[in-house]
């Protein structure tokens, strides 16, 4: 038993799990990090990231075999030969779609932290206060002032590049120099600012890519191949950032191939005592014990672990006493936007490949802007010159055709909207009673959808995108809306929300499970509303904040 006992257990090794491991080990706790998938070592295991792009035999296309193995991943843009092995094997780990749900999973060390889009934005009190002001769902148990110092803290360590734009609804942070906008984007930014009288802004994307080196990591080399794995450590991932720091303390043990099947619960002490795992390779069951547990298995799988735990006490699982566990599933809805062509910059070119583009922060339902829906949306986009994959109307084949394609084509610009999804109690996930995965464990059933507010917002997202391009002088504007299945935004959240009242929330203001105060959930599961900005930076900040609290409580003997 002693050899299976630690001070802390962290379940999951993605963005928030990596942070939990770094913080807890940094505070002197002997910590066991459990990862359900394979080990995935920094640099060594980056199959294509260290090779020239032409060495990928299908040059990015996926094979028929991969298409059959990963049908969900092939619904979106993420099906690329270079990273297919990073995605979860969908045959081994299926899930049930009561309503269409696109779940992007990476079961390996680092989780989605090596694959993420790296956009990093702070929430503001417009976000934290929205539920309370509008009477939607429940209030957040914290405000911007509670999390602001933790945003500072995680930004300094992770390395976020961005510009200080002075917007109250998108607070500035501790930024490295921004990744530049190109000449077309700068021109459009000026036009938008003028036309909308400083109510709309086109700003530099704020991104977890280093524009200056920080200890142990080299600055971004502008290859734009982040998700293939960066040998320079140019962007934040568990592998490049939090894991080496945790390892350096000498307090970390990592155990891959460890599927946590349940959290062990002592009903007399009302505390968790440890976890049970199933070794994914040997199918053997093991138990590990600790004083505190950080559950960071990703938004939906953290709920899965809770639902599968302490069922002898609560039928719905640990943390289910409020009736909210697995409910209030949110995401950001996208797959829509506008694009067009830009004239007048034919003599201007680009050098290097950015890992980001521009961002247009929310403007809907802010200040004097009032809509027929609530909440808002932002856009990510970029201007660039057409590549060889364009068509040239007057040329079909031949040397002239080839030489023309080898040159940059016309400038174009495009932007994709990301909209807030409200927390609806009926948008939920549950354990499917009729279906098991490869290891005989119940799978999740997804029952969530967009509702009227989101649908109305989608109309505004495409309309406003086209309007903005139009006033900026963009030509040949076209809008698109490919529809949105929940989960497709890869920002799933809300399955174990925070709140001030144990009757209506799963977690308290410190991310503690109300029903077991030594269990902390600090990934997307904890979110009480979704904002419209990318959530990972907030998970980092909430995790670091909860770790500080947890260790203090441990020292006081409260948990």
């Amino acid at each position: 038993m002693a050899e299976n006992t630690y001070d802390a257990i962290v379940i999951g090794s993605g963005i928030s799990g990596g942070w939990a491991a770094k913080e807890l080990t940094g505070k002197g706790l002997k910590t066991l990090m459990l990862e359900r998938g394979r080990n995935y070592e920094h640099i060594k295991d980056y199959k294509y990231g260290t090779k020239p792009p032409w060495e990928a035999p299908h040059r990015g296309s996926t094979t028929k075999e991969q298409q059959e193995k990963y049908p969900v991943i092939h619904r979106g843009w993420a099906a690329n030969e270079a990273v297919m092995e990073c995605w979860t094997n969908e045959q081994e780990s299926p899930y049930t779609e009561i309503k269409p749900f696109t779940w992007w999973r990476s079961y390996q060390l680092g989780g989605r932290s090596t694959l993420w889009g790296r956009q990093s934005y702070r929430w503001s009190d417009f976000d934290f206060e929205a539920n309370a002001k509008e009477g939607w769902a429940i209030d957040w148990p914290l405000r911007y002032k509670d999390i602001a110092p933790w945003y500072d803290y995680v930004e300094k360590f992770a390395g976020i590049s961005g510009n200080k734009d002075g917007l109250a609804h998108l607070p500035d942070g501790h930024f490295l120099p921004p990744v530049n906008l190109n000449i077309v984007e700068k021109d459009i930014a000026v036009r938008l600012k003028k036309y909308y009288k400083e109510q709309r802004h086109l700003i530099n994307g704020r991104v977890a890519n280093l524009t200056e080196a920080i200890p142990g990591r080299t600055q971004c080399q502008f290859r734009d191949r982040c998700w293939e794995g960066c040998p320079f450590g140019g962007y934040f991932s568990t592998q490049s950032s939090t894991l080496p720091a945790a390892v350096a303390t000498g307090n970390l043990t990592v155990r891959p191939w460890s599927i946590v099947t349940r959290i062990l619960y002592d009903k007399d002490k009302k505390r968790a005592t440890g976890v049970e795992i199933l070794d994914a390779e040997t199918n053997q069951t093991h138990e590990y014990y600790a004083k505190i547990i950080f559950l960071n298995a990703s938004a939906l799988n953290s709920a899965w672990v809770l639902m599968n735990s302490a069922t002898d006490v609560w039928k719905g699982g640990l943390g289910s006493s409020s009736g909210e566990l697995g409910h209030n599933i949110m995401d950001h809805h996208y797959n829509l936007g506008a694009s067009g062509s830009v004239e007048g910059f034919e003599d201007h070119f680009i050098y290097g490949r950015r890992p980001t583009g521009f961002y247009i922060p929310r403007f809907a339902n802010l200040y004097s802007d009032k809509r027929e829906f609530t909440r808002g949306f932002g856009y990510q986009g970029g201007a660039s010159r057409d590549s060889w994959s364009r068509e040239i109307a007057e040329l079909n084949i031949g040397g002239e055709f080839k030489d023309a394609l080898s040159q940059p084509g016309n400038w174009n610009i495009g932007m994709t909207g990301f909209g807030e999804i409200l927390p609806y109690h009926e948008n939920r996930i549950s354990l499917d009673p009729n279906r098991k995965d490869k290891w005989g464990l119940p799978v999740l059933a997804m029952d969530a959808e967009l509702k009227d507010n989101e649908k109305k917002m989608r109309t505004a997202i495409t309309t406003e995108a086209a309007n903005m391009l139009d006033v900026a002088g963009v030509k040949n504007i076209r809008t698109w809306d490919s529809g949105h299945a929940m989960g497709h935004g890869i920002h799933e959240m809300g399955s174990a929300r925070m709140g001030a009242d144990p009757k209506s929330s799963v977690l308290n203001q410190h991310n503690q499970v109300w029903d077991a105060l030594n269990v902390f959930v600090t990934d997307g599961a904890c979110m009480t509303s979704s904002s419209c900005v990318n959530p990972s930076l907030t998970y980092m900040a909430l995790t670091a904040r909860a770790c500080e609290f947890a260790v203090a409580e441990l020292k006081k003997g409260n948990i």
Partner: protein, 194 residues
Amino acid sequence: MAILLGSTVIGADLFLSGCTNEHTQQILLSDTQIGYLNEVAETILPKTAASDGAKAANVGLFMKTMVKDCYSDEERKVFFSGLDELEKASEKAYGKGFISCNAQERRKLLIALDAEAKDYRKKNDLLQQKEAERQKSSQASGKPNYLKKTPPAHYFAMIKQLTLLGYFTSETGYASIGYVQVPGRYDGDVTHQV
């Protein structure tokens, strides 16, 4: 930025086609056929003063890999019968096979086939309008449309696309566009091309 390019790689949606894998173990293209496809590809993207052509990038071998691993049975069928059709078109126009044609004849033949492929696509696009309308109504109700399926392209569209993809993603092709592997910085306004 793939969204902006507005083009999809043939084979991208074939996971929905429900075809079997039975041919993937076979050697689908012989060395002679690879050589043949290299000649066709070289006619589409020939060596110029500026850069090497498709043959130098061995695009024929790339086609073999793609057709073997990434094409559906339905697409393979179109591709292979297309090789016969290309020969027939050559016989019809010049009374000899493609390899026996001189550069000028090859070029003329492929320009005609390119026009044929574009007409075919236009017709297909019309046929797909109904499908697009169906999708539009499903979008209005907020449902995703990832289950759409597009009919196979014209064989010459396949060959041309594989040629472009194979060439511009080869070391030769990357050199032709001035690709720098590790740029080290980003400059969004260069007034002369680097």
